[in-house]
Amino acid sequence: MSALSDVTSREQAARELLSHYVRVVDDPERVHEWPDLFADEAEYVVVTRENLERGLPVAVIRDDSKDRILDRVTVIREFWGAGGRLEDRHYNDVRPRHLVGPVWTEPAEDGSVWVTANFGVWLTPSADPTPRLLALGEYRDHVVFTPQGPRFRSKWVILDTAVLQDVFVYPL
């Protein structure tokens, strides 16, 4: 395989990882698959642009290890009664819908790929037919290639709004 097509296929694989991510986080029944999309050393951070630009360290979510990423699924399912089978959801029952794009990719010299994308997340609560715009912002992802395939080394979710319109149950 030529160098050019190798880079192109890596960028394509990174895009497919993001598409797969959206499929998983949009489906409450598949929330347990979400940590599998991250490398063994990984971070998942959700931060407001306001705190980021002011250099303030407080993030909405700062899962700075794979353990914390795995713990998030436990918190979603066991603490918050969300995710999993419909009959296991006690409250916080919403259907998230991610709209992602455009997506930009930039290969790094070490073979990894940086992916940025615009995103919006809408929620449709089961108890309220009116969809709510939960969040709007930008993904800044670093995708590495492991023997198992492409994985997120880091996923930063940068929120445009300083005032969140709802609490966060599922990953953004």
Binding site: T48, R54, P57, V58, T74, W80, V163, L164, F168
Partner: protein, 406 residues
């Protein structure tokens, strides 16, 4: 000298039904938009001290932040002289909002109104106006400073009042000062940032939830999952004859005795205190102060509409914390108490449900702990909610329903 906003007078503009029993709360008070407007005046610009920040949020001369006191948008600013002031965020000329963003520094530039280029010093005095020719002869710049609230501080906590009859802050806080001191220490804090979220609930439902010790183990499933319990504590209501603050004290299970369902249990860890005691405080009517686990948090409860309330969660470290302690606080705070916090989502879900069904009319009822008429209460009691509504009713000019003194 503080400028006091003109206030409406007389009773509520609506006929307020209140049951004779002081443990019953009429649901209409969570849905009536006329009452909401009245509260913004009678409660938030009434004779109360509203928590608007901590000095660590505006450490340098000229630093400012924006917030609101009820419906009144204000700027909390540290002047060139180091003094903290609370100014109306509206030009004294034609009322345009002066600053839009959440924070900044105006030491050099002052506040400049975009509309007609009027410029104010950081202390709110009018410095200059554009093209003042043909103004009335009696125009004097000193008559057009930005209206100021009264300001009082305690260990860096900044309180504002728009009422000239508000008692001095120490008398208003009474024995709550001891609780505040336990959380903020000597007041030397470092600001770590804030997270803001809209709760779909009336502001009173948000505040009364903190007076309620009954829901804690019932609603917060996470506590059940890790088997975190309260090992004693109490719920005090400092100054209940007047203001009805809440000072909840509780000792929670040590992290090494919890069921380790999470791989990283530092969420529930206490490293900076000798015991797992914590304080959960409401400075009536709307300031929340807590030192849950190792998190030092202030919350500002900002009513947006009768059914929407903005909660700003602000996080702090102590000025002399080593970096690894700061890092621990940064990781723990929002993960426990915030819009994605392990024990916050349940409150949002429950309060939204109470709000949604308030249109059903009828009364909410407070039962647990109510055979006792006066504080102290047990930490699992919801009875302190009665004192919140007694203080609220006094401000509204409705008979407070409180029993006579013991």
């Amino acid at each position: 000298m503080a400028t006091v906003l003109p206030r409406a007078s007389g009773g509520p503009p609506v006929s307020l039904r209140w049951p004779p029993e002081d443990n019953r709360i009429p649901r209409e008070i969570f849905t009536d938009p006329d009452l909401f407007r009245w509260e913004m005046d009678a409660v938030f610009t009434g004779p109360v001290w509203v928590l608007v920040g901590h000095e660590a949020e505006i450490p340098q001369p000229g630093d400012y932040k924006t917030i609101s006191v009820g419906a009144v948008p204000v700027i909390v600013v540290r002047g060139g002289d180091g003094q903290v002031r609370v100014l109306l965020n509206a030009c004294a000329h034609r009322g345009a909002r002066l600053v839009e963003g959440p924070s900044g520094n105006v030491l050099r530039a002052g506040f400049r109104c975009i509309y007609h280029m009027w410029t104010y010093a950081p202390d709110g005095t009018l410095q200059g106006v554009s093209l003042p020719e043909d103004f009335p002869a009696e125009f004097r710049r000193e008559d057009y400073g930005l209206p100021r609230a009264r300001v009082a501080t305690h260990r860096g906590l900044i309180f504002a009042s728009f009422h000239d009859e508000t008692p001095p802050l120490p008398a208003y806080l009474a024995e709550l000062t001891e609780g505040l001191d336990r959380v903020v220490g000597d007041g030397r804090l470092r600001y770590l940032g804030s997270v803001k979220v809209v709760f779909r609930t009336n502001w009173k439902l948000y505040v009364e939830n903190i007076y309620d010790g009954y829901h804690v183990t019932a609603l917060h499933t996470g506590f059940q999952v890790v088997r975190l319990r309260s090992h004693g504590g109490q719920r005090l209501v400092p100054n209940y004859q007047r203001n009805g603050h809440l000072w909840g004290q509780s000792r929670s299970t040590r992290v090494d005795e919890l069921r380790p369902v999470l791989r990283d249990m530092s969420l529930f860890e206490v490293r900076t205190k000798p015991t797992t005691d914590h304080n959960m405080i409401v400075v009536f009517p709307s300031g929340v102060v807590t030192d849950y686990f190792d998190t030092i948090q202030l919350r500002y409860v900002l009513p947006l509409a009768v059914d929407r309330t903005l909660i700003e969660f602000t996080f702090f470290a102590r000025s002399d914390d080593p970096e690894e302690v700061v890092r621990h606080r940064v990781r723990q705070g929002p993960a426990v108490l915030g819009p994605a916090g392990a024990i916050t989502l349940e409150d949002a879900a429950a309060l939204e449900r109470v709000q949604t069904s308030s249109v059903a009319r009828g009364d909410n009822v407070v039962l647990k702990g109510t055979p006792k008429r006066f504080p102290p209460y047990r930490h699992v009691d919801e009875a302190p909610i009665r004192h919140f509504y007694q203080a609220y009713r006094r401000l509204l000019g409705v008979a407070d329903g409180a029993p006579s003194q013991p």
